[in-house]
Protein backbone atom coordinates (compact mmCIF):
# COMPACT_ATOMS: atom_id res chain seq x y z
CA UNK A 1 0.00 0.00 0.00
CA UNK A 2 1.92 3.00 -1.23
CA UNK A 3 0.91 6.43 -2.32
CA UNK A 4 0.67 6.37 -6.11
CA UNK A 5 1.84 9.78 -7.35
CA UNK A 6 1.30 8.87 -10.95
CA UNK A 7 -2.32 8.01 -10.26
CA UNK A 8 -2.82 11.39 -8.62
CA UNK A 9 -1.32 13.25 -11.57
CA UNK A 10 -3.47 11.12 -13.82
CA UNK A 11 -6.75 11.60 -12.01
CA UNK A 12 -6.59 15.30 -11.14
CA UNK A 13 -7.19 16.43 -14.74
CA UNK A 14 -10.05 13.94 -14.99
CA UNK A 15 -11.68 15.30 -11.86
CA UNK A 16 -11.18 18.87 -12.99
CA UNK A 17 -13.42 18.02 -15.92
CA UNK A 18 -16.17 17.77 -13.31
CA UNK A 19 -15.41 21.15 -11.77
CA UNK A 20 -17.56 22.80 -14.42
CA UNK A 21 -20.56 20.81 -13.27
CA UNK A 22 -19.75 21.53 -9.63
CA UNK A 23 -19.68 25.25 -10.41
CA UNK A 24 -22.88 25.07 -12.45
CA UNK A 25 -24.63 23.38 -9.54
CA UNK A 26 -23.21 25.93 -7.11
CA UNK A 27 -23.93 29.13 -9.00
CA UNK A 28 -27.31 28.15 -10.37
CA UNK A 29 -28.66 26.94 -7.04
CA UNK A 30 -27.10 29.89 -5.24
CA UNK A 31 -28.87 32.34 -7.57
CA UNK A 32 -32.19 30.51 -7.35
CA UNK A 33 -31.81 29.90 -3.62
CA UNK A 34 -31.04 33.57 -2.97
CA UNK A 35 -34.11 34.65 -4.93
CA UNK A 36 -36.21 32.10 -3.03
CA UNK A 37 -34.69 33.22 0.26
CA UNK A 38 -35.64 36.84 -0.42
CA UNK A 39 -39.13 35.80 -1.45
CA UNK A 40 -39.59 33.73 1.71
CA UNK A 41 -38.23 36.58 3.82
CA UNK A 42 -40.78 39.00 2.39
CA UNK A 43 -43.61 36.57 3.08
CA UNK A 44 -42.24 35.98 6.55
CA UNK A 45 -42.07 39.65 7.51
CA UNK A 46 -45.22 40.64 5.63
CA UNK A 47 -47.12 40.80 8.89
CA UNK A 48 -49.87 38.56 7.46
CA UNK A 49 -50.14 35.24 9.25
CA UNK A 50 -51.52 33.38 6.21
CA UNK A 51 -48.31 34.23 4.36
CA UNK A 52 -45.91 33.93 7.27
CA UNK A 53 -47.20 30.62 8.69
CA UNK A 54 -46.76 28.50 5.52
CA UNK A 55 -43.32 30.04 5.08
CA UNK A 56 -42.33 28.99 8.57
CA UNK A 57 -43.55 25.45 7.92
CA UNK A 58 -41.55 25.35 4.69
CA UNK A 59 -38.39 26.55 6.43
CA UNK A 60 -38.94 24.13 9.29
CA UNK A 61 -39.28 21.15 6.96
CA UNK A 62 -36.32 21.97 4.75
CA UNK A 63 -34.03 22.75 7.65
CA UNK A 64 -35.21 19.79 9.69
CA UNK A 65 -34.51 17.02 7.16
CA UNK A 66 -31.25 15.87 5.55
CA UNK A 67 -30.51 17.38 2.16
CA UNK A 68 -29.71 13.87 0.91
CA UNK A 69 -33.26 12.77 1.71
CA UNK A 70 -34.59 15.86 -0.08
CA UNK A 71 -32.53 15.00 -3.15
CA UNK A 72 -33.81 11.41 -3.10
CA UNK A 73 -37.43 12.49 -2.68
CA UNK A 74 -37.14 14.79 -5.67
CA UNK A 75 -35.12 12.53 -7.96
CA UNK A 76 -36.34 9.03 -7.06
CA UNK A 77 -39.61 9.90 -5.36
CA UNK A 78 -41.45 12.41 -7.53
CA UNK A 79 -41.65 10.19 -10.64
CA UNK A 80 -43.91 7.90 -8.60
CA UNK A 81 -46.58 10.62 -8.74
CA UNK A 82 -48.52 10.75 -11.95
CA UNK A 83 -49.41 14.43 -11.78
CA UNK A 84 -45.71 15.25 -11.56
CA UNK A 85 -45.03 13.25 -14.69
CA UNK A 86 -47.84 15.08 -16.45
CA UNK A 87 -46.80 18.53 -15.28
CA UNK A 88 -44.83 21.17 -17.14
CA UNK A 89 -41.98 20.65 -14.67
CA UNK A 90 -41.38 17.10 -15.83
CA UNK A 91 -38.66 18.00 -18.37
CA UNK A 92 -36.64 19.45 -15.47
CA UNK A 93 -37.52 16.79 -12.91
CA UNK A 94 -36.78 13.81 -15.09
CA UNK A 95 -33.13 14.87 -15.42
CA UNK A 96 -30.77 14.34 -12.48
CA UNK A 97 -29.25 17.77 -13.10
CA UNK A 98 -32.64 19.47 -12.86
CA UNK A 99 -33.43 17.54 -9.70
CA UNK A 100 -30.12 18.46 -8.10
CA UNK A 101 -30.68 22.15 -8.87
CA UNK A 102 -34.24 22.04 -7.55
CA UNK A 103 -33.24 20.26 -4.35
CA UNK A 104 -30.20 22.43 -3.65
CA UNK A 105 -32.14 25.65 -4.36
CA UNK A 106 -35.14 24.72 -2.23
CA UNK A 107 -32.84 23.72 0.60
CA UNK A 108 -30.51 26.69 0.49
CA UNK A 109 -33.46 29.09 0.07
CA UNK A 110 -34.80 27.94 3.43
CA UNK A 111 -31.48 28.55 5.16
CA UNK A 112 -30.87 31.85 3.39
CA UNK A 113 -34.26 33.30 4.29
CA UNK A 114 -33.43 32.78 7.95
CA UNK A 115 -30.04 34.42 7.44
CA UNK A 116 -31.67 37.37 5.69
CA UNK A 117 -34.24 37.66 8.45
CA UNK A 118 -31.44 37.83 10.99
CA UNK A 119 -29.93 40.69 8.99
CA UNK A 120 -33.21 42.58 8.77
CA UNK A 121 -33.88 42.16 12.48
CA UNK A 122 -30.35 43.39 13.17
CA UNK A 123 -31.00 46.78 11.59
CA UNK A 124 -31.42 49.41 14.29
CA UNK A 125 -35.08 50.37 14.51
CA UNK A 126 -34.10 53.99 15.01
CA UNK A 127 -32.84 54.14 11.41
CA UNK A 128 -36.11 53.08 9.85
CA UNK A 129 -37.92 55.43 12.22
CA UNK A 130 -35.69 58.28 11.12
CA UNK A 131 -36.53 57.48 7.51
CA UNK A 132 -40.22 57.25 8.35
CA UNK A 133 -40.05 60.63 10.06
CA UNK A 134 -38.71 62.08 6.79
CA UNK A 135 -41.83 60.86 5.00
CA UNK A 136 -40.06 58.03 3.17
CA UNK A 137 -42.54 55.26 2.37
CA UNK A 138 -42.46 51.74 3.82
CA UNK A 139 -41.24 50.22 0.56
CA UNK A 140 -38.54 52.79 0.01
CA UNK A 141 -37.39 52.36 3.60
CA UNK A 142 -36.97 48.65 3.00
CA UNK A 143 -35.06 49.20 -0.24
CA UNK A 144 -32.84 52.13 0.68
CA UNK A 145 -32.28 51.75 4.42
CA UNK A 146 -33.03 48.26 5.72
CA UNK A 147 -31.67 46.23 2.80
CA UNK A 148 -28.22 47.75 2.37
CA UNK A 149 -27.55 47.57 6.11
CA UNK A 150 -29.02 44.08 6.46
CA UNK A 151 -26.95 42.80 3.54
CA UNK A 152 -23.77 43.87 5.23
CA UNK A 153 -24.88 42.33 8.52
CA UNK A 154 -25.63 38.95 7.01
CA UNK A 155 -22.65 38.72 4.70
CA UNK A 156 -20.56 36.47 7.00
CA UNK A 157 -23.45 34.04 7.47
CA UNK A 158 -24.16 34.17 3.74
CA UNK A 159 -20.55 33.30 3.02
CA UNK A 160 -20.79 30.28 5.34
CA UNK A 161 -23.93 29.19 3.59
CA UNK A 162 -22.26 29.39 0.18
CA UNK A 163 -19.56 27.06 1.50
CA UNK A 164 -22.24 24.68 2.82
CA UNK A 165 -23.99 24.75 -0.52
CA UNK A 166 -20.73 24.06 -2.32
CA UNK A 167 -20.21 21.04 -0.09
CA UNK A 168 -23.77 19.87 -0.73
CA UNK A 169 -23.21 19.90 -4.49
CA UNK A 170 -21.07 16.80 -3.93
CA UNK A 171 -24.28 14.93 -3.07
CA UNK A 172 -25.30 15.26 -6.72
CA UNK A 173 -22.96 12.30 -7.24
CA UNK A 174 -25.54 10.14 -5.43
CA UNK A 175 -28.02 10.67 -8.27
CA UNK A 176 -25.62 9.68 -11.06
CA UNK A 177 -24.23 13.14 -11.82
CA UNK A 178 -20.55 13.29 -12.70
CA UNK A 179 -19.48 16.38 -10.84
CA UNK A 180 -16.01 16.34 -9.27
CA UNK A 181 -17.18 14.00 -6.54
CA UNK A 182 -18.95 11.75 -9.03
CA UNK A 183 -15.82 11.43 -11.15
CA UNK A 184 -13.69 10.79 -8.08
CA UNK A 185 -16.02 7.99 -7.01
CA UNK A 186 -15.87 6.48 -10.50
CA UNK A 187 -12.07 6.53 -10.50
CA UNK A 188 -11.96 4.97 -7.04
CA UNK A 189 -14.33 2.23 -8.18
CA UNK A 190 -12.00 1.50 -11.11
CA UNK A 191 -8.59 1.81 -9.46
CA UNK A 192 -9.47 1.07 -5.87
CA UNK A 193 -7.15 3.80 -4.69
CA UNK A 194 -9.30 5.87 -2.31
CA UNK A 195 -6.47 7.72 -0.63
CA UNK A 196 -4.87 9.15 -3.74
CA UNK A 197 -8.10 10.07 -5.48
CA UNK A 198 -10.17 11.28 -2.54
CA UNK A 199 -7.35 13.31 -1.04
CA UNK A 200 -6.68 14.96 -4.39
CA UNK A 201 -10.31 15.94 -4.80
CA UNK A 202 -10.37 17.07 -1.20
CA UNK A 203 -7.58 19.51 -1.97
CA UNK A 204 -9.55 20.89 -4.90
CA UNK A 205 -12.62 21.37 -2.71
CA UNK A 206 -10.51 23.10 -0.07
CA UNK A 207 -9.16 25.51 -2.66
CA UNK A 208 -12.71 26.34 -3.73
CA UNK A 209 -13.75 26.89 -0.10
CA UNK A 210 -10.77 29.14 0.39
CA UNK A 211 -11.62 31.12 -2.75
CA UNK A 212 -15.23 31.59 -1.58
CA UNK A 213 -14.07 32.83 1.81
CA UNK A 214 -11.51 35.22 0.32
CA UNK A 215 -14.08 36.63 -2.08
CA UNK A 216 -16.56 37.35 0.67
CA UNK A 217 -13.90 38.79 2.96
CA UNK A 218 -13.05 41.19 0.15
CA UNK A 219 -16.67 42.14 -0.46
CA UNK A 220 -17.20 42.64 3.25
CA UNK A 221 -14.21 44.92 3.50
CA UNK A 222 -15.45 47.00 0.60
CA UNK A 223 -18.94 47.22 2.01
CA UNK A 224 -17.70 48.22 5.45
CA UNK A 225 -15.68 51.22 4.38
CA UNK A 226 -18.17 53.51 6.08
CA UNK A 227 -17.49 52.02 9.50
CA UNK A 228 -13.74 52.39 9.26
CA UNK A 229 -12.63 55.40 11.14
CA UNK A 230 -9.93 57.56 9.70
CA UNK A 231 -8.03 59.04 12.55
Amino acid sequence: MSFDIELILDSIPKMLVGIGLTFELLFLSLALGTALGIFLLILRISGRWYLAAPTMVYIYIFRGTPILVQIFIIYYGLPQLEFVRDSIFWPILKEPFGCAIVALSLNTGAYLSEIFRGGVLGVDRGLTEAAAALGISVRQRFIYITSPIAIRLCLPAYSNDVVSLMKSTALASTITLLDMMGIARTIVAETYAPYEVFISVMVIYLVITWAIQRTFAWIEKRMSRHVRREA
Binding site: E129, A131, G135, I136, Q140, V227
Partner: protein, 250 residues
Protein backbone atom coordinates in the same frame (compact mmCIF):
# COMPACT_ATOMS: atom_id res chain seq x y z
CA UNK B 1 -49.06 87.48 19.99
CA UNK B 2 -52.62 87.57 21.21
CA UNK B 3 -54.67 84.41 21.61
CA UNK B 4 -57.01 85.42 18.81
CA UNK B 5 -54.63 85.50 15.87
CA UNK B 6 -52.65 82.48 17.03
CA UNK B 7 -52.57 79.98 14.16
CA UNK B 8 -52.57 76.45 15.61
CA UNK B 9 -49.98 74.04 14.21
CA UNK B 10 -50.42 71.20 16.70
CA UNK B 11 -53.44 70.36 18.75
CA UNK B 12 -53.73 67.47 21.20
CA UNK B 13 -57.02 66.85 22.92
CA UNK B 14 -57.41 64.24 25.67
CA UNK B 15 -54.82 61.96 24.13
CA UNK B 16 -54.39 58.50 25.66
CA UNK B 17 -51.72 56.03 24.66
CA UNK B 18 -51.49 52.45 25.87
CA UNK B 19 -48.68 49.93 25.51
CA UNK B 20 -50.61 46.77 26.23
CA UNK B 21 -52.24 47.45 29.56
CA UNK B 22 -49.71 50.13 30.50
CA UNK B 23 -50.93 53.68 29.97
CA UNK B 24 -48.08 55.90 28.78
CA UNK B 25 -50.19 59.02 28.09
CA UNK B 26 -53.18 60.01 30.18
CA UNK B 27 -55.54 62.59 28.71
CA UNK B 28 -52.87 64.90 27.37
CA UNK B 29 -53.96 68.34 26.15
CA UNK B 30 -51.52 70.62 24.36
CA UNK B 31 -51.64 73.28 21.67
CA UNK B 32 -48.73 74.77 19.78
CA UNK B 33 -49.16 77.84 17.61
CA UNK B 34 -47.19 78.71 14.51
CA UNK B 35 -43.67 79.77 15.38
CA UNK B 36 -44.02 78.76 19.03
CA UNK B 37 -41.41 76.79 20.92
CA UNK B 38 -42.43 74.29 23.56
CA UNK B 39 -39.91 72.62 25.83
CA UNK B 40 -41.06 69.36 27.45
CA UNK B 41 -39.35 68.09 30.56
CA UNK B 42 -40.01 65.42 33.14
CA UNK B 43 -38.47 62.33 34.69
CA UNK B 44 -37.39 59.34 32.62
CA UNK B 45 -40.34 57.16 31.64
CA UNK B 46 -42.87 59.97 32.08
CA UNK B 47 -44.04 59.72 28.45
CA UNK B 48 -42.17 62.63 26.82
CA UNK B 49 -40.90 60.57 23.88
CA UNK B 50 -44.25 58.90 23.50
CA UNK B 51 -45.92 62.29 23.35
CA UNK B 52 -43.82 63.65 20.50
CA UNK B 53 -43.75 60.30 18.69
CA UNK B 54 -47.53 60.42 18.56
CA UNK B 55 -47.33 63.77 16.80
CA UNK B 56 -45.66 62.23 13.73
CA UNK B 57 -47.35 58.91 14.31
CA UNK B 58 -44.29 56.82 15.06
CA UNK B 59 -46.71 55.76 17.77
CA UNK B 60 -50.47 55.65 17.30
CA UNK B 61 -52.54 57.13 20.08
CA UNK B 62 -55.56 55.20 21.30
CA UNK B 63 -58.04 57.87 22.37
CA UNK B 64 -58.43 61.59 21.83
CA UNK B 65 -57.60 63.84 18.94
CA UNK B 66 -54.34 64.96 17.37
CA UNK B 67 -54.31 67.57 14.62
CA UNK B 68 -51.02 68.49 12.97
CA UNK B 69 -50.96 71.44 10.57
CA UNK B 70 -54.56 70.80 9.65
CA UNK B 71 -54.20 67.03 9.24
CA UNK B 72 -56.24 64.99 11.66
CA UNK B 73 -54.22 61.99 12.90
CA UNK B 74 -57.11 59.96 14.16
CA UNK B 75 -58.12 56.49 13.04
CA UNK B 76 -56.78 55.48 9.63
CA UNK B 77 -54.67 58.30 8.27
CA UNK B 78 -54.76 58.39 4.48
CA UNK B 79 -51.30 59.63 3.73
CA UNK B 80 -49.20 59.58 6.84
CA UNK B 81 -46.01 60.03 4.79
CA UNK B 82 -47.33 63.39 3.55
CA UNK B 83 -47.92 64.53 7.14
CA UNK B 84 -44.49 63.33 8.21
CA UNK B 85 -42.86 65.43 5.50
CA UNK B 86 -44.22 68.51 7.21
CA UNK B 87 -42.80 67.42 10.57
CA UNK B 88 -39.06 67.00 11.02
CA UNK B 89 -37.66 64.91 13.85
CA UNK B 90 -34.32 64.80 15.62
CA UNK B 91 -33.55 61.79 17.83
CA UNK B 92 -31.45 61.37 20.93
CA UNK B 93 -29.26 58.77 19.19
CA UNK B 94 -28.88 60.77 15.92
CA UNK B 95 -29.98 57.81 13.76
CA UNK B 96 -27.91 58.92 10.78
CA UNK B 97 -27.92 56.34 7.99
CA UNK B 98 -24.52 54.70 8.52
CA UNK B 99 -24.17 53.46 4.94
CA UNK B 100 -24.61 56.91 3.40
CA UNK B 101 -22.21 59.84 3.47
CA UNK B 102 -23.24 62.99 5.28
CA UNK B 103 -24.45 64.70 2.12
CA UNK B 104 -26.27 61.57 0.95
CA UNK B 105 -28.04 61.42 4.31
CA UNK B 106 -29.42 64.87 3.48
CA UNK B 107 -30.20 64.13 -0.15
CA UNK B 108 -32.02 60.82 0.31
CA UNK B 109 -35.48 62.02 1.29
CA UNK B 110 -35.69 64.78 -1.37
CA UNK B 111 -34.59 62.25 -3.98
CA UNK B 112 -37.10 59.58 -2.95
CA UNK B 113 -40.00 61.76 -1.96
CA UNK B 114 -39.81 64.96 -3.96
CA UNK B 115 -37.90 63.47 -6.89
CA UNK B 116 -36.21 66.81 -7.47
CA UNK B 117 -33.05 66.92 -9.64
CA UNK B 118 -29.87 65.76 -8.00
CA UNK B 119 -27.96 69.02 -8.51
CA UNK B 120 -30.72 70.95 -6.82
CA UNK B 121 -30.78 68.54 -3.86
CA UNK B 122 -27.06 68.81 -3.52
CA UNK B 123 -27.10 72.59 -3.52
CA UNK B 124 -29.80 72.62 -0.90
CA UNK B 125 -27.99 70.03 1.24
CA UNK B 126 -24.79 72.09 1.12
CA UNK B 127 -26.71 75.18 2.15
CA UNK B 128 -28.12 73.32 5.15
CA UNK B 129 -24.72 71.97 6.11
CA UNK B 130 -23.44 75.54 6.08
CA UNK B 131 -26.33 76.50 8.28
CA UNK B 132 -25.28 73.89 10.85
CA UNK B 133 -21.65 74.92 10.32
CA UNK B 134 -20.13 71.72 8.97
CA UNK B 135 -20.02 72.04 5.17
CA UNK B 136 -16.50 70.60 5.16
CA UNK B 137 -17.78 67.22 6.44
CA UNK B 138 -20.13 66.69 3.49
CA UNK B 139 -18.38 63.69 2.00
CA UNK B 140 -17.48 61.89 5.22
CA UNK B 141 -19.22 58.89 6.73
CA UNK B 142 -21.31 59.54 9.84
CA UNK B 143 -19.04 57.27 11.88
CA UNK B 144 -16.15 59.64 11.21
CA UNK B 145 -17.86 62.56 12.93
CA UNK B 146 -18.08 63.49 16.59
CA UNK B 147 -21.41 63.18 18.38
CA UNK B 148 -22.05 66.92 18.20
CA UNK B 149 -21.32 66.97 14.48
CA UNK B 150 -23.56 63.97 13.91
CA UNK B 151 -26.44 65.62 15.71
CA UNK B 152 -26.00 68.78 13.64
CA UNK B 153 -26.12 66.66 10.48
CA UNK B 154 -29.31 65.08 11.83
CA UNK B 155 -30.82 68.55 12.30
CA UNK B 156 -29.83 69.48 8.74
CA UNK B 157 -31.36 66.25 7.51
CA UNK B 158 -34.62 67.04 9.28
CA UNK B 159 -34.61 70.45 7.58
CA UNK B 160 -34.07 69.16 4.07
CA UNK B 161 -37.76 68.43 3.56
CA UNK B 162 -38.68 72.02 4.54
CA UNK B 163 -40.76 70.97 7.54
CA UNK B 164 -43.13 73.41 9.20
CA UNK B 165 -42.51 71.83 12.58
CA UNK B 166 -39.51 70.14 14.15
CA UNK B 167 -39.65 67.69 17.03
CA UNK B 168 -36.53 67.15 19.13
CA UNK B 169 -36.28 64.14 21.46
CA UNK B 170 -33.52 64.87 23.97
CA UNK B 171 -31.13 65.97 21.22
CA UNK B 172 -28.23 66.64 23.59
CA UNK B 173 -28.61 63.82 26.12
CA UNK B 174 -26.27 61.44 24.31
CA UNK B 175 -23.54 64.05 23.86
CA UNK B 176 -20.35 64.65 25.75
CA UNK B 177 -20.73 67.89 27.75
CA UNK B 178 -18.34 69.88 25.56
CA UNK B 179 -20.46 69.23 22.46
CA UNK B 180 -23.81 70.25 23.88
CA UNK B 181 -23.52 73.94 23.15
CA UNK B 182 -22.67 73.53 19.46
CA UNK B 183 -25.96 71.68 19.01
CA UNK B 184 -27.96 74.07 21.19
CA UNK B 185 -26.58 77.01 19.20
CA UNK B 186 -27.96 75.54 15.99
CA UNK B 187 -31.31 74.98 17.70
CA UNK B 188 -31.37 78.54 19.02
CA UNK B 189 -30.70 79.83 15.48
CA UNK B 190 -33.60 77.77 14.21
CA UNK B 191 -35.84 79.12 16.94
CA UNK B 192 -34.90 82.70 16.05
CA UNK B 193 -35.85 82.04 12.44
CA UNK B 194 -39.39 81.32 13.55
CA UNK B 195 -39.54 77.52 13.30
CA UNK B 196 -42.31 75.80 15.25
CA UNK B 197 -40.55 73.47 17.70
CA UNK B 198 -41.33 70.93 20.36
CA UNK B 199 -38.24 69.99 22.24
CA UNK B 200 -37.85 67.37 24.93
CA UNK B 201 -34.90 68.68 26.88
CA UNK B 202 -33.56 69.22 30.35
CA UNK B 203 -31.32 72.08 29.26
CA UNK B 204 -32.84 74.77 31.43
CA UNK B 205 -30.76 77.60 29.98
CA UNK B 206 -32.02 76.73 26.53
CA UNK B 207 -35.59 76.52 27.78
CA UNK B 208 -35.35 79.93 29.44
CA UNK B 209 -33.93 81.60 26.35
CA UNK B 210 -36.16 80.18 23.61
CA UNK B 211 -39.29 78.56 25.06
CA UNK B 212 -42.70 80.19 24.86
CA UNK B 213 -44.08 77.42 26.97
CA UNK B 214 -42.47 74.85 29.26
CA UNK B 215 -44.36 71.63 29.94
CA UNK B 216 -43.66 69.28 32.83
CA UNK B 217 -44.77 65.67 32.48
CA UNK B 218 -44.95 62.93 35.06
CA UNK B 219 -46.46 59.46 34.81
CA UNK B 220 -48.05 60.17 31.44
CA UNK B 221 -49.72 63.39 32.44
CA UNK B 222 -48.97 67.04 31.87
CA UNK B 223 -48.63 68.18 35.46
CA UNK B 224 -47.83 71.82 34.90
CA UNK B 225 -47.06 74.21 32.07
CA UNK B 226 -46.39 77.88 31.59
CA UNK B 227 -43.95 80.45 30.25
CA UNK B 228 -40.38 79.80 31.41
CA UNK B 229 -40.30 82.73 33.82
CA UNK B 230 -43.25 81.54 35.88
CA UNK B 231 -42.49 77.86 35.40
CA UNK B 232 -38.94 77.98 36.72
CA UNK B 233 -39.28 80.68 39.32
CA UNK B 234 -42.74 79.94 40.69
CA UNK B 235 -43.64 76.32 40.09
CA UNK B 236 -46.97 75.49 41.72
CA UNK B 237 -47.03 71.72 41.76
CA UNK B 238 -44.98 69.80 44.31
CA UNK B 239 -43.85 67.24 41.76
CA UNK B 240 -42.56 70.05 39.53
CA UNK B 241 -40.72 71.61 42.43
CA UNK B 242 -39.09 68.33 43.33
CA UNK B 243 -38.09 67.67 39.74
CA UNK B 244 -36.60 71.15 39.27
CA UNK B 245 -34.67 70.79 42.49
CA UNK B 246 -33.24 67.48 41.33
CA UNK B 247 -32.07 68.69 37.93
CA UNK B 248 -30.72 71.97 39.23
CA UNK B 249 -28.61 70.17 41.82
CA UNK B 250 -26.76 68.45 39.00
Amino acid sequence: MSKADRQLMIELENVDKFFGSFQALKGVNLTVGKGEKVVVCGPSGSGKSTLIRCINRLEQHNNGKIVVNGHELTGAVKDIDAVRREVGMVFQSFNLFPHLTVIDNLMLAPKLVRKTPKAENRKKAMRLLERVKIPEQADKWPSQLSGGQQQRVAIARALCMNPEIILFDEPTSALDPEMISEVLDVMIDLAREGMTMICVSHEMGFARSVADNVVFMDEGEIVESGPPGTFFDNPKNDRTKLFLKQILSH
